[in-house]
Amino acid sequence: MDSIRTAMAIFKVLMEKGQLERENDSELFVRYSEPEIQDILNEMSEEMDCELLRIKDTIYLIPDYDNTMLGFRNKDVREWIGANARMSDVFLGYYMTALILNLFYGGKNRDPKQREFLNLTTIIEELDTRIQRILSNEEQAGEMEKEYSLNFKNIALIWDSKRVFEDGSRISTKLGFLLKVLRLLQLEGLIQIAENEKEIRTTRKLDDLMIHYYLNDSRINELHEIFKEEK
């Protein structure tokens, strides 16, 4: 009975905060390692479509990739971009997020984390370079069909038509759009935006999850599933 109560207490903290730290909940943290409690928690997390992962002094609750109950939803995406968001804006937001993750953690097997911080101008330049690669090849349309979807070419045009900056930081500018995306990532506890809004840093949570879980080769089937479902 005591084990069930403790397991419930652990799960409650995880549901509330998404993570349980040794520093703040030392007793629960220590009891987490007891096999009986782990068994109960495993059953609970299986039923809730999530995974519990201990990384150093923190236990994280990670929703499965298709968990709509605990994870984030469309509402967040709308808040993310704004009331007049179009699907192309949402896609651009996703692509930008993926690009930022790649710039930080693109190190593959050697040491995934490649940077301590990232300048906002570097992100814009990187996206510009990728977009220019598409637009400059426009005349070779046949070749491009294989490399990029029509949708992505459309995104490239939308990005290219945005001005870099203008007062008011609206999403119609490159910097304004980037800041929109970054603020959501900050709200989700994944990055920190410097006071002067010139650079960003990753949080411990993002480092932990990316290095010890997210990039693991064992997740590759999940990614294949996601992209397969799209076809």
Binding site: R73, Y94, Y95, A98, R115, N151, L215, I226
Partner: protein, 537 residues
């Protein structure tokens, strides 16, 4: 292998740091040229020493601002380059972020490890940055990494042949600088480190038991031997530091003998030294227990475990290939699934799905089969789609009002009143709710009253093209077009009129639920006569 090349890759660490600082990859001539090439190198190393001193001797935080004041002083007094606050901040940002942190990008130096005959990538990281949350946002605090300390100590503080751990050396330096408060913390962390060592050792043994097939026994013996040597050395060094502490205590005692009394700060220092001494002896005791067990040192064991389990066994996929490239191939219809890529990283927020309001919403009977809700991002929740859905709903209501009014009039022999229409319609609760939602029935009637006569026959004969661009506005042409298509009655109507009946008023009470709150309204109406004229008269 040549014996003298043993540990060569460790020697190269120093070269790697020097290379990173001297052969700067991203030089900014506009900043460096004003000061000069070699003087600028002096300035970089001065900043490093400043960061070390700040971390060791003071309780102040080492921020970009602190460093820039120091840089301004140096530039003004020693480099013949009078600088403003703004310029010194710019120089400091360049030194700290671009030179010492390599613009945030991880820096590697290739070194040959003759012991295994392989080239290895040595990470160069000289300073650490801790980001702290403040009321104004985030603030960066800088400190030296162990690699940074090691490098700086070797440039002046210690002889090369001395082998010691950086933590122990820091403690010795702190005592030397009479910073007993920080030394006490440092000694506390030494005790913790030794205890951690014990825990890690137990963990290693556990891991070794679980992964016994993965462990090379000859390597294991080697580890045990080298660990034993390391622990013995550390034990000796801690003894040395204990002597330093004793000397400091004696100094305080001498002062007491000379002056006959102890000032408050000296009393505090004495207490702190006593505590340090206790910490050191308990650290030594723990170490001696470990040495006796000959069970290994945490440094080598943990690095072996980490290397093996974290960086070697854990293979990582290519993010560029598996995510970015595939996103570039995604079509618009696929976007609604892309949230799944990031779902594991985002906040867990069950409360938006488990909120109390849901329990109070209108409930329906449970059916045998429940409708599957498609997970993910429903396209229709985007604003453009939502506008369409609303326009569709509003137009459906307009059509329902127009059709039901004509039907009511036709039923009553060609004319009816708005009051009668409402009384009859109210009985169908569901439909009544639908037409009164957002006051649509009443605003529609006002519009119809303004139009007064709808000449359907003339409209039918006009042959004008209509614009079918659905909005939620009351568009008579569009509505007549729809009614002509869908309503048998309207196909036989020539006219429909709305006229006020003077002196006839009535009261309507309606209720509507909005955001879980029930609103009740009372509306006074002039009665309206609704009259239809059929094609055959």
């Amino acid at each position: 292998m040549y014996e003298f090349l043993e540990g060569f890759h460790k020697r190269m660490q120093l070269t790697a740091v020097v290379d990173a600082l001297i052969n700067r990859r991203k030089k900014k001539p506009e900043i460096e040229d004003q000061i000069g090439d070699k003087p600028f190198e002096n300035l970089i190393f001065s900043v490093l020493v400043f960061i070390m001193e700040k971390t060791l001797t003071e309780d102040e935080e080492c921020t970009l601002r602190n460093i820039s004041f120091f840089v301004r002083d140096l530039l003004n007094n020693y480099y013949n380059d009078p600088s403003s606050d703004e310029k010194s901040l710019e120089v400091t940002e360049y030194i700290v972020k671009t030179i010492l942190q390599f613009d945030g990008v991880a820096m590697y130096y290739p070194v040959m490890n003759y012991e295994n005959g392989k080239w290895e990538e040595l990470r160069v990281k000289i300073i650490d940055e801790k980001v702290m949350e403040t009321t104004k946002g985030y603030k960066s605090i800088y400190s030296l990494t162990d690699q940074g300390y090691d490098f700086l100590f070797r440039t002046k503080e210690v002889d090369n042949e001395l082998s010691f751990s950086v933590e122990e050396f820091k403690l010795r330096e702190l005592i030397k600088r009479k910073n007993y408060k920080k030394a006490l913390n440092q000694s506390n962390s030494l005790v913790q480190m030794v205890r951690q060592k014990k825990r890690d050792l137990e963990q290693y043994i556990l891991s070794a038991k679980e992964n016994i097939y993965g462990i090379d026994i000859s390597k294991f013996d080697e580890l045990i031997d080298s660990t034993f040597k390391l622990l013995s050395d550390e034990y000796e060094i801690l003894g040395g530091i204990q002597n330093t502490v004793k000397i400091s205590e004696m100094r305080i005692r001498d002062e007491y003998n000379l002056s006959g009394r102890l000032m408050d700060d000296m009393k505090k220092a004495q207490q702190e030294l006593y505590q340090i001494s206790r910490n050191l002896s308990s650290a030594r005791q723990e170490q001696s227990k470990l040495i006796n067990k000959r069970e290994g040192s945490y440094k080598i064991l943990i690095s072996t475990i980490e290397d093996t389990f974290r960086y070697v066994l854990e293979k990582r996929f290519d993010f560029e290939k598996e995510v970015l490239k595939k996103m570039e191939l995604s079509e618009e219809k696929d976007i609604k699934n892309l949230w799944r890529i990031f779902n594991p990283l985002f906040h867990v927020e069950p409360f938006r799905n488990f909120n109390l309001g849901l329990a109070y919403r209108a409930q329906s009977l449970m059916k045998e089969s429940t409708e599957e809700v498609e997970p993910g991002i429903p396209m229709d929740e985007l604003s453009e789609d939502q506008e369409n859905i609303r326009a569709q709903r509003v137009n459906q209501t307009y059509l329902l009002i127009l059709e039901s009014m004509a039907e009511a009039a036709e039923r009553e022999g060609g004319e009816t009143t708005f009051r009668t229409y409402c009384e009859v319609f109210m009985e169908n609760e569901l439909k009544w709710k639908e037409i009164t939602r957002d006051n649509l029935l009443f605003t529609t009637l006002l519009k119809l009253y303004e139009i007064e006569n709808i000449d359907i026959k003339a409209w039918r004969e006009s042959d004008e093209n209509i614009l079918i661009n659905q909005t939620d506005e009351f568009n008579m042409d569009y509505l007549l077009y729809r009614l002509e298509e869908d309503s048998e009655l309207y196909r036989h109507l020539d006219r429909i009129s709305f006229t006020k009946i003077e002196g006839d008023c009535f009261e309507l009470r309606i209720s509507e639920e909005k955001s879980n709150v029930l609103w009740r309204k009372k509306i006074d109406f002039d009665n309206i006569l609704i009259k239809v004229v059929k094609s055959n008269g």
